[in-house]
């Protein structure tokens, strides 16, 4: 497993060096600096030199590096590095060079706790904050032995993500369904790829140890009556699903991944999402849908290169959702050739501006109500270049956010909370669709 964790700034200064095994020598810091940070040729996040492997992720302005010495579980290494980022954010607000330099001691203390001999230990923020504290994060628990055993029980228990003594006057739970819709459309207007990456974020402010049950309009769940026989043989599953497609109002989830609090065995057996939530905000699940994706925007670009001196654009965009809804912060990025000298643009709504540093015309529409259609016409004048290279025509891209709409059609059907004390709780749900990678080639 991990031999050491190193953190560098962009200049290559080694800020944190924590060895967990004696094979992690200090000179490895220099090797990483020379071979990765100051080597522009490096294009992979994993580099093996001799028997040493450096796996790194870049976050803000720092490099987080894991050193391993054998054929380590690479997935675990990267998951851990990303967890470190999450922990850093939760402790310091953000994890960057400044945060690291201001918190050397705490970071070393955390590393000592969450890794033992290079094996990741409990990395739950809530539990760690009970006994690893800073000025910002104060723990109510003193250093006495009885309190300590409460911490150790928490850190090694089956519900390591939740403290037992949580209390709220008002019990509430907020569910956010956030979908990133990905689109790749070819220049001829065919959809090459359209899918949805969804995540369900929950903020649970519930007392005690609540058991939650969560229901979606998931096709497999709704069909469970007639597919109980076929569900055990996924070979038949596709067939069954297509046959019952007519029963509208349900969604086929290609795949789901759950927070560790969810009882996976139950989901596998009868598609019931049941869990004891951590306190506060967490990502309950992620899912993927590829069938019947509703695309909120249709974009129709016409781009003409006039000789070698001019490019003419005409981009039409239409909102493909109910007129009761409206999208906000719609931004359309229209690529221009690298040798663009100046542009002129006209829009029927919103503002368009040329951003020479990104080679883009950026068209912003603050509020885009359903059913409406807007047009941009623009012209880019090019400087002549001695070496004429064909323009690579990167795709046009969109970003937006649209409330009360899910591209996949997913709906939350219920959220039930059961607790010993039988309190009543208020549940809220919110839907949002954003652009993931929404690209249109032209």
């Amino acid at each position: 497993m991990l031999s050491g964790i190193l953190i560098f700034n962009q200049k290559g200064e080694n800020l944190i060096f924590r060895a967990f095994r004696s094979d992690c020598r200090p000179r490895l810091a220099d090797i990483f600096r020379i071979q990765v940070i100051s080597n522009p040729q490096v294009r992979s996040p994993i580099l093996t030199l001799g028997s040493t492997t450096f796996s790194h992720v870049k976050h803000e302005n720092i490099y987080l590096v894991a050193v391993t010495k054998s054929n380590a579980n690479a997935a675990l290494v990267f998951e851990f590095l990303y967890r470190l980022v999450v922990l850093g954010k939760s402790y310091f607000g953000k994890l960057d060079e400044e945060a690291v330099k201001n918190n050397f001691v705490l970071i070393y203390e955390l590393l000592d706790e969450i890794l033992d001999y290079g094996y990741p230990q409990n990395t739950e923020t809530d539990t760690l904050k009970m006994y690893i504290t800073t000025e910002g994060v104060k723990s109510a628990i003193a250093n006495s032995a009885t309190d300590s055993s409460r911490i150790t029980m928490q850190a090694t228990g089956a519900l390591s993500w939740r403290r037992a003594d949580v209390k709220y006057r008002k019990n509430e739970a907020f569910v956010d369904v956030i979908e990133d819709v990905n689109l790749l459309m070819s220049a001829t207007g065919t959809v090459l790829r359209a899918d949805v990456n969804g995540q369900i974020i929950m903020r649970a402010y519930l007392s005690g140890t609540p058991e939650c049950k969560f229901g979606l309009n998931d096709r497999l769940l709704l069909d469970s009556g007639d597919s109980s026989t076929s569900s055990s043989t996924p070979g038949n599953r596709d067939g069954t699903m297509k046959a019952t497609r007519a029963a509208a109002g349900s969604v086929t989830l290609e795949d789901c991944q759950f927070h560790q609090c969810v009882k996976l065995g139950r989901f596998d057996a009868d598609r019931i999402i049941s869990f004891v939530p951590p306190d506060g905000e967490f990502e309950l699940m992620r899912y993927r849908a590829t069938e019947n994706v509703n695309l909120p925007f249709k974009v129709h670009p016409i781009v003409r290169e006039v000789g070698t001196t001019k490019v003419e654009y005409s981009v039409a965009i239409k909102a493909n959702y109910s007129s009761k809804l409206f999208a906000t912060n719609v931004v359309i990025r229209i690529p221009t050739p690298l040798n663009t000298a100046k542009t002129t643009e006209r829009t029927s709504q919103g503002r368009a501006k040329y951003e020479p540093e990104h080679n883009n015309i950026v068209w912003k529409i603050a509020r885009f109500s359903g059913g409406s259609e807007f047009v941009l016409t623009a012209e880019a004048t090019l400087t002549s270049m001695t070496h004429q290279k064909a323009w690579s025509r990167p795709p046009l891209s969109l970003s937006f956010s649209l409330l009360m709409f899910t591209s996949s059609g997913l709906l939350v059907r219920y959220l039930k909370v059961f607790e010993k004390s039988n309190y009543s709780s208020v549940k809220w749900v919110r839907y949002m669709t954003r652009a993931g990678s929404y690209e249109i080639r032209f």
Binding site: F78, Y119, Q121, S148, T152, M153, P394
Partner: protein
């Protein structure tokens, strides 16, 4: 020129760069010892220690001078101070073992503290210190703490055994620590159990003499505690499941189905390790229907990993390449998810491209070609080249689509971007080779761009085309002469191509060729230092002078067919890598020992339930570790199962297994001996340390001998050069 500005970074607790070394050390020492009795909460000491910790990494080893002062603070009644002192101790004890000794009694004391956090902290700290006295002093306390009432302390003790094993193998092996560790598998706390397993697997990985085996009852129990473990604990348990060898098809199936729900976990380590275990168990499942139903469960989670950060995507993609070779039915309908996003990092794009190539079929070729064409207009040269090459390889892989691919290529060539033209030339050469007398009409289009070519590989390709079709290309003599004019400046690759092309030219157009050939043969035989070129030159020379008719048959004869399968791993490597899904070796797709020489290899273990692929039955190059050769502590995880009834039966089984093992072992050693023999020629001087390396290199040669027509393809993943 690069101007350095003085560092302007502000530190919370003083700047480590501002003062001279001695000055800084002295100042910190003073600060550490200030405060005196007035400093009730030791806040001055805390601040001083924080500065020292901040300076540990940033200013090299200067802080070591403060070692005695820091030890002086170690006994203060504050956990915060203790932690900082311990960190300092771990960092510097190896540099100053004598000074560190003063801390030993404090640590030993703390291991008896009433606070479990302190006990665990002291145990964790003492076992990090690679100093003999510390290691010896850990043995007694760790035995006691393995039975501590607090699970947090017990799990720390479990890892401690692995740490001690790293410090001193012998001492641990002669003690009863490993047995005690085994007994801890009975612990009622899942976190402790998963820690014990992680520790055992770690020890297993470092020792040739210890074997790890888990029986069904234990395996089943381990799977049942999976839901109660943290995500990391689940990874450790799944990792350990690879040491369970199913004796029965039904057992394997049941476990695989119980592990399958883990595929929905949000932690990619849990997902990939589950895939590894399920793939492994599939080797022992007899019913093909169950196997394919399990295989179907693997692809959605793999695809879902593509919405994770790019590094994890990369891993998922590399493993997809691997799994696709083992189980082609996985991922079959998912080609579109591998289409590249414009902003994907290059390592993700290139791997996706490889998967797209593997998943392309007659049915989806049109979509794929449109997609690849799009890639060929991107900016990254490396990626564009790969895309162009992929189009050419598809022409070879899918015969019915060859025309379509060629049209796409010619279209791209028309843009006259030099690197696209070069890459296209190389693949078109290969298409000619694969489909003789079908697409030669496009020779004209290819020759048109001859002036764009400046890379050896592309030049060699065009020269091959000129030579092969010398009689169809009108001015072939002129083209050839243009290249021959600079013969001496070309790389060997181009020179070889020129030599062969000239000979072909002569055979097809003897009148025009007769001035050229003697000249080129002379250059190649008398004026070169390259042995390959000289040998080939002499060969042609003798061939032409002895029997021109035979020469024609040899030179213009039928060529062995080429195929376009990319990076096909040999079955042995494939088997090994499938047992290592999610690990670093799968990123490189190379045999584990080639990348990590000290790694212990994993092989499929024999059992009555093992389903053998047909081809392997023929060339059984199996190696099974001989249980008799592992004398010390066989870690029997089965210890915690009360299976006295079963113990008799496995005894017979064991006998049968060892008989089989010793048979296969002898097969193995013979082969090894044969390999070694070859190895010494190559690498005679290498000592014992290089043995593994040698073995691998020879292995490659061995392949060369048996499958000459595949050698180039297998090694480079590209098509054969002539």
């Amino acid at each position: 020129m690069f101007l350095m500005t003085p560092p302007t970074v502000h530190y919370a607790h003083g700047s480590p760069f501002s003062r001279s070394k001695q000055g800084k050390v002295a100042e910190l020492r003073q600060e550490l010892n200030s405060g005196g009795k007035k400093d009730k909460n030791h806040s001055a000491k805390k601040i001083a220690l924080k500065k020292i910790v901040a300076n540990m990494t940033m200013s090299n080893n200067d802080m070591v001078a403060l070692f005695p002062d820091v030890i002086g603070c170690m006994n203060l009644p504050s956990l915060e101070i203790k932690k900082m002192c311990f960190l300092f101790l771990v960092n510097y004890s190896r540099a100053k073992p004598e000074t560190a000794m003063k801390a030993l009694p404090i640590l030993v004391d703390d291991m008896e503290d009433s606070n479990p956090l302190v006990r665990a902290l002291a145990l964790r700290t003492i076992s990090y210190i690679h100093v003999r006295e510390f290691v010896e002093a850990t043995f007694q306390p760790v035995k006691r703490l393995m039975g501590d009432m607090d699970p947090y302390v017990r799990k720390t003790a479990a890892f401690c055994v692995a740490k001690l094993y790293e410090h001193d193998k012998k001492l641990v092996e002669t003690s009863d620590l490993i047995d005690r560790l085994n007994n801890m598998l009975k612990d009622e706390n899942p976190t402790v159990v998963s820690s014990v397993l992680a520790s055992l697997v770690d020890i297993w990985g470092r020792s040739e003499s210890i074997s790890l085996s888990i029986d069904y009852t234990s395996a089943s129990k381990l799977v049942s505690i999976l839901p109660d473990c943290s995500e990391w604990g689940q990874s450790y348990i799944l990792e350990a499941m690879m040491s369970y060898v199913p004796q029965d098809s039904a057992e394997a199936l049941l476990l695989a189905e119980r592990i399958a729900p883990r595929l929905s976990h949000s932690n990619s380590a849990v997902v990939l390790t589950s895939i590894r275990v399920i793939l492994y168990l599939m080797n022992y499942i007899a019913d093909e229907r169950h196997v394919s139903s399990l295989a179907k469960k693997l692809s959605p989670p793999l695809v879902t990993l593509l919405s994770k950060p790019p590094e994890v995507q990369y891993l998922a993609l590399r493993n997809a390449i691997l799994i696709l070779q083992k189980r082609p039915e996985v991922l079959r309908n998912d080609i579109r998810v591998f289409f590249c996003n414009y902003n994907d990092p290059i390592y993700v794009k290139v791997t996706k491209l490889e998967l797209i190539f593997m998943l392309t079929t007659k049915e989806n070729i049109s979509v794929v070609l449109a997609e690849l064409r799009e890639y060929a207009t991107e900016i990254d040269v490396h990626f564009v080249r790969k895309a162009v090459r992929a189009i050419g390889k598809l022409a070879i892989k899918i015969e019915s689509a060859a025309r379509q691919c060629i049209d796409t290529l010619l279209d791209l060539v028309n843009a006259k971007i030099p690197y696209i033209v070069q890459e296209a030339t190389v693949v078109i050469r290969n298409i000619f080779r694969k489909y003789p007398n079908q697409y030669e009409s496009i020779i004209g289009n290819v020759i048109q761009n001859i002036d764009e070519l400046d890379e050896p590989e592309a030049k060699a390709a065009i020269i091959w085309i000129i030579g092969q079709y010398a009689d169809r290309i009108e001015n072939s003599d002129g083209l050839l002469q243009d290249y021959l004019a600079t013969f001496h400046d070309e790389t060997v690759e181009v020179q070889l191509a020129l030599l062969t092309a000239t000979v072909k030219f002569f055979i097809q157009r003897p009148t025009k060729g007769q001035q050229l050939v003697p000249q080129v043969l002379k250059w190649c035989t008398e004026e070169t230092d390259d042995p390959d070129l000289r040998d080939r030159g002499y060969m042609y020379w003798r061939l032409l002078s002895t029997d021109p008719a035979a020469a024609k048959q040899v030179v213009m004869g039928q060529k062995p067919p080429i195929s376009a399968e990319s990076e096909k791993l040999d079955s042995r490597t494939l088997e090994e890598l499938c047992l290592n899904v999610g690990t670093l070796a799968t990123v490189y797709l190379k045999p584990v020992q080639q990348v990590f020489r000290s790694a212990r290899t994993r092989r499929l273990q024999y059992s009555p339930a093992l389903q053998r692929p047909k081809e392997e039955a023929v060339n059984a190059a199996w190696q099974f570790p001989d249980p008799a050769s592992s004398p010390t502590a066989a870690l029997n995880a089965g210890a915690f199962a009360n299976n006295s009834a079963q113990s008799a039966q496995p005894a017979d089984m064991n006998a049968a297994v060892s008989a089989a093992d010793s048979y296969f072992n002898s097969v193995g050693t013979q082969q090894m001996a044969a390999l070694d023999l070859g190895g010494r020629e190559d690498d005679g001087g290498a000592g014992g340390g290089g043995a593994l390396q040698t073995q691998y290199v020879v292995n490659q040669n061995q392949q060369l001998v048996y499958q000459p027509q595949l050698a180039g393809g297998a090694a480079t993943g590209e098509l054969l050069l002539l």
